[in-house]
């Protein structure tokens, strides 16, 4: 990725602010130690440039935060890509042998005697493992703590998300330039991957970037790019994203292959935009997930089978508003949602639009810029 220790964002301040939030939250929750295994939480806590791997891996202690020493300890054999506030003495190596790992963890000042420990996840064997290097076998929920401190974004965090969105929009431009009958979803995805890599940010938030919507039978959102070739008149969904300095940006647009239209297609575009506008107007401080469900229902569209919105920041995050979840979620001023509107008509196809929306003090602020098809 493009180096995140340079550019127009003050990354030193960014990390300082994140650490201050973290320690304040630990004080409030009366936690002496955090043990983190989730990549996004580790990135938020450390700002370290870690090797990106797709997917989600079972919990293991990768990052240890000790309140009394205000130190952050990280599993890394080297200091390349590690911010300066994490000293060499704060790194612990990669071990396959649990005996060596335990010894390395026991050497972390403040951990052996700690009894109030929070983790962001758990495994059945962790309750036996924990007392070998800490003063307890009991853990507290630090996943909620991480969710809550990550929710409201600072100006520097928003700047990172805007940079990521700009790269995603460059990806959209490359996809649009290649939209011709005969090209496959796969080739479009590979052009997108190539484009964001040339911009210095090669790790996509998702490979769910391109799908042709069906013109026969039920129209459903698809997630995997296939060898299917685009045909003149197909409605094709383009949903590019990008990650900059750990922060995700992205959007979705739908285009007609060959650029033509019809009254039925125009109606789909209008419905999708009306749905999205209704959702965005509900993105106000103090609003709730229920408000988004109501806004969607007010458009007359069927009950959504997709996520109306999810939080965004260091990747996708809570709240999730959709799949019958998130009705009671409260929209916090300064948080960011990815909001989307999917409509379809059998025999015609479907239209997806997605925007990144900041919950501003005076109402919703749209961070994405590309034109929707009207």
């Amino acid at each position: 990725m493009a180096l995140e220790d340079s550019g127009r964002v003050n990354f030193t301040n960014l990390r300082t602010e994140r650490r201050a939030r973290l320690f304040a939250a630990m004080d409030e929750a009366n936690l002496e130690v955090l043990i983190l295994g989730r990549t996004s939480n580790i990135h938020y806590t450390t700002g370290a440039r870690l090797l990106w791997r797709s997917g989600v891996f079972p919990f293991a202690p990768m990052c240890i935060v000790v309140r009394s020493t205000e130190k952050t300890h990280l599993l890394s054999c080297w200091d390349d890509g590690i911010p300066p506030e994490i000293g060499r003495e704060d790194l612990f190596g990669l071990f396959w042998n649990p005996v060596s790992l335990i010894a390395a963890l026991r050497a972390i000042p403040g951990l052996v005697e700690a009894t109030r420990i929070g983790t962001d996840s758990f495994t059945p064997s962790f309750s036996n493992f924990l007392p070998t290097f800490a003063g307890t076998s009991e853990v507290h929920d630090a996943a909620q703590l991480m969710t809550s401190i990550r929710s409201v974004k600072t100006n520097d965090e928003i700047a990172c998300m805007v940079v990521a969105t700009t790269v995603a929009e460059a990806g959209l431009t490359a996809l649009e330039a290649s939209l011709e009958p005969g090209i496959s979803e796969r080739t479009l995805l590979s052009i997108f991957n190539q484009t964001i890599a040339h911009h210095g940010t090669p790790t996509p938030p998702s490979e769910s970037v391109v799908f042709v919507t069906d013109r026969q039978g039920p129209v459903r959102m698809r997630h995997l790019a296939t060898d299917r070739a685009l045909q003149e008149g197909d409605l094709v969904v383009l949903a590019p994203g990008a990650i900059y300095a750990g922060y995700e940006g992205g959007l979705a647009r739908t285009r007609v292959v060959g650029g033509g239209s019809s009254p039925a297609i125009a109606s789909l575009f209008e419905r999708s935009s009306a749905g999205l506008d209704a959702l965005i107007s509900a993105c106000v401080p103090g609003g709730s997930g229920e408000d988004l469900y109501k806004a969607w229902a007010s458009t007359g569209e069927p009950v959504p089978t997709f996520a109306l919105a999810n939080g965004m920041g260091v990747g996708a995050e809570a709240p999730l508003i959709g799949f019958s979840r998130g009705e009671t979620a409260i929209l916090q001023e300064g948080s960011v949602l990815s909001v989307q509107s999917w409509v379809s008509t059998e025999g015609i196809g479907g239209v997806l639009n997605r925007e990144l929306v900041r919950i501003g003090s005076r109402g919703p602020e749209i961070l994405t810029r590309s034109e929707r098809t009207s």
Partner: protein, 387 residues
């Protein structure tokens, strides 16, 4: 492939006295269900994760996923459902209901991860660490799995040929990534597994990044660093094909006309000698320790692999999995590790020539009934081929 895996899973459930298994991690879900999911960043892959449930006695796994289009065609429709969101308290009742449908109260169930909402809502069961079950299932590959690994490797190698052709002074590491992804993503069934590595190796240990153990740092993350004439880069990349991983490792020289020096050519020869020494022994009944000793002997008594890694690792739905040979688990562990048909070994020795850099590459074999077959090609441009 899927029926073989279900048979292995059922055998292991029986052997471990489990009533079933619940899998939340990408690798476990891919193994148990054969489902494809788009490669997602960990945040998205977590929040929108797929969950697999295998019930003792059932011939098919249950899949709970957003990505309905990635479910294998053979999965019965009454085994495919929408997502469960185990990371959220909101709606955890739905997951609780599902677990109760599959398992009686008090059942012994394997699980690879327990989120805090699961800890709060699913206390009525005896949860057991799923790792021993998964590890045992994945240790031996079926013929179909070996074919898929070979196919994954073939696609990755083809994309690497195109990428190496782009290598020249002035190009950025992320530009190499762009070319690799442009080529490998074209192939249906492939998915991005990790950010490809193009690490520049300086000639001395001191000039390379500081490490906790004093050995070399590898692999470090690629950036928009510009490559210069003569830069030695250690390449490592992996993509998956229908869930099975590839692993490409080579040493390249940054130049329009890359020509190894005599010293660099000797490093490559030494690397070949180590791989050949270990590989020539590889067959059922041989221990990991014997391979390690052969590798060390071929390197004049010096351990030819990185302190934090191994001489060889397995590969499957994880990019590195058992068997691990030469780790800090020690000689006793390696001695107990006896090669068996169906195991995969990715040899990744490192030859270091202090003051003159070094050579690293990867060579993949599958253990057969009486020896091994190669799963990676034997071209090591610009150095040559292995015998």
């Amino acid at each position: 492939m899927h029926s073989d895996r279900m048979r292995l899973l059922q055998e292991q459930l029986e052997g471990h006295g489990l009533d079933g298994i619940v899998l939340l991690g990408s690798s476990g879900v891919a193994y148990a269900t054969g489902a494809q999911t788009p490669a997602d960043d960990s945040g998205r892959a977590g929040l929108f994760r797929s969950v697999a449930i295998v019930v003792k006695g059932d011939t098919d796994p249950f899949l709970y996923s957003v990505a309905w289009d990635g479910a294998p065609e053979r999965l019965p429709s009454d085994h495919l459902f929408g997502p469960l969101f185990p990371d959220l308290d909101d709606g955890i009742d739905a997951m609780r209901d599902v677990i109760h449908q599959h398992f009686k109260l008090g059942s012994r169930v394997g699980v690879d991860e327990q989120t805090h909402p699961m800890l709060r809502a699913l206390g009525d069961f005896e949860w057991i660490d799923a790792r021993p079950v998964m590890s045992a299932c994945k240790l031996h590959k079926t013929p179909d799995e070996i074919s898929a690994i070979r196919a994954a490797q073939f696609m990755s190698e083809a994309a690497m040929d195109a990428t190496r052709a782009m290598l020249r002074p002035g190009i950025r590491q992320t530009d190499l990534t762009a070319t690799y992804l442009r080529n490998v993503t074209e192939c249906e069934g492939t998915s991005l597994a990790l950010d490809p590595i193009w690490q520049v190796m300086e000639p001395t240990r001191a000039a390379n990044p500081w490490t906790t153990h004093g050995d070399l740092a590898y692999p470090t993350t690629s950036t928009d660093r510009i490559l210069r004439e003569g830069d030695i880069i250690w390449v490592d990349a992996g993509t998956t094909y229908y869930g099975l991983s590839s692993d490409f490792g080579r040493t390249w020289i940054t130049s329009l006309h890359p020509t190894p020096t005599t010293r660099q050519a000797a490093q490559f020869e030494q690397w070949c000698a180590v791989v050949n020494a270990a590989r020539s022994l590889a067959k059922p009944g041989v221990t990991g320790l014997e391979l390690c000793r052969a590798g060390i002997a071929a390197n004049d008594g010096v351990k030819p692999w990185l302190e934090h890694f191994y001489l060889a690792h397995g590969i499957g739905t994880d990019s590195a999995e058992m068997p691990l040979i030469g780790t800090d688990l020690g000689e006793q562990f390696d001695e107990k590790l006896v090669l068996e048909p169906g195991m995969i070994l990715v040899f990744e020795p490192v030859i270091w020539d202090e003051g003159h850099g070094g050579y690293r590459a990867e060579d993949i074999v599958a253990i057969t009934d009486d020896g091994w077959v190669p799963l990676s090609n034997n071209r090591y441009e610009p150095f040559g081929v292995t015998p």
